[in-house]
Symmetry: C2
Subunit: 229 residues, 2 copies
């Protein structure tokens, strides 16, 4: 077994507990990668997401799952980290108030730190630039730029042992993501997409993230097993 472990390529997978990141974990697994899942307790409004991440990691199977604490709520500036701001329940123009400043840059940098140490060279992130909230750090140019950072700013990278930031959902519709995940055995009842779920994981059905999810399941022709509050 340990001999097999040594030759099996590894991936660090950013696992939020939502629909997209559960799907990328299943994709990484389907490619035969040994998966190291990382979730970030960043001061988000609710704990349901992180509880979901634990369930998803257990269900799909990972080598290790780590929850890292970094209090982005100390900086504020987002309805997801500042309880005084209201999560919008109608679509907004431009980048919404649920945008968390530099969140994916912080998440990727933590994934990179772990990847370098555990000798994973692939980092999976479930960003999507089709059915999404319009966040700048979900777009292909950003992912490419971070890949350059990873390869210029690490010992592994400059040694020619290149990191690849894998964003396999980036150009899929939400319906395509759901269909793919179903083929790969993702149990979407374990995932929580809502920006303001309650502590039991029940969702509002109204926020941007819920609306995108509802439309996605409808377009996919699949019944969403999520629990509404």
């Amino acid at each position: 077994m340990s001999g097999m472990d040594k030759t099996q390529p590894k991936a660090v997978v950013l696992l939020s507990g939502g629909l997209d990141s559960a799907t990328i974990l299943a994709i990484a697994k389907s490619k035969g990668l040994a998966c190291y899942a990382i979730s970030v307790a960043y001061g988000q409004r609710h704990a349901a997401e992180l509880q979901a991440a634990v369930q998803v990691a257990r269900h799909l199977g990972v080598k290790e799952h780590r929850v890292v604490d970094i209090n982005l709520a100390a900086f504020g500036g987002s309805a997801l980290t500042d309880a005084r701001l209201t999560v919008p329940t109608t679509p907004a123009e431009g980048i919404p108030i649920t945008y968390v400043p530099a969140r994916n840059t912080v998440f990727l940098s933590l994934a990179l730190a772990w990847a370098e140490v555990c000798e994973a060279r692939a980092i999976y992130i479930g960003v999507n630039a089709v059915d999404y909230s319009g966040y700048p750090d979900c777009r292909p140019d950003f992912i490419k730029a971070f890949e350059s950072v990873a390869n210029l700013g690490t010992r592994a990278g400059v040694s020619g042992d290149r990191f690849v930031i894998e964003a396999p959902l980036i150009s899929l519709s939400k319906a395509e993501i759901i269909n793919l995940g179903q083929q790969l055995g993702v149990d979407y009842s374990l995932t929580v997409s809502c920006y303001q779920a309650d502590d039991r994981g029940r969702v509002c059905g109204l926020c941007d993230s819920c609306r995108i999810r509802v439309s996605g399941f409808q377009a996919a022709g699949v019944v969403d097993p999520t629990r509404y509050a």
Copy 2:
């Protein structure tokens, strides 16, 4: 006063408590920037560095100083975060074991998060690629790549309100840095450069960082006010 504050441009300054970061804070101040200093408690071997950061911020004057916790020691892989590894006291070939995986990427991402919220568009980092330990995340290409990430992955960046990563020491010798800092009123007795200082800030004089500092002060013709153990 508040009118003045609004028009004064702001900078987030990464302040470790060492010689270089104290100097960049003085540089940023000399340019008339309102400085927001950020230090990171990342699981480093000793607390003396962070205590020094507090002293330096107080001495030079900042709008605010925040110490952010992110436990990179949980990932390990460096003599600076893993007490079981020994800090070398003789020069090594290549990138030394004191390299902390992805450290400056993590630090810059946190500085970026704060900068976006507090509306600073300059981020100062005291990296140096001349008299340094050979870390990949201290080189100009890395800094440029991170600047791209900052401008592609944030609301401010994509809105055309560009971030600039300022690394004013990157091509200076340690002696030049020290002379510049002296002109700008840096009190180097407050700074701690050692990789393994004791809790009272007394340094070993033998590690890579101490050796670079000692040579720098000698070349600058300045007496180092640091305290040796």
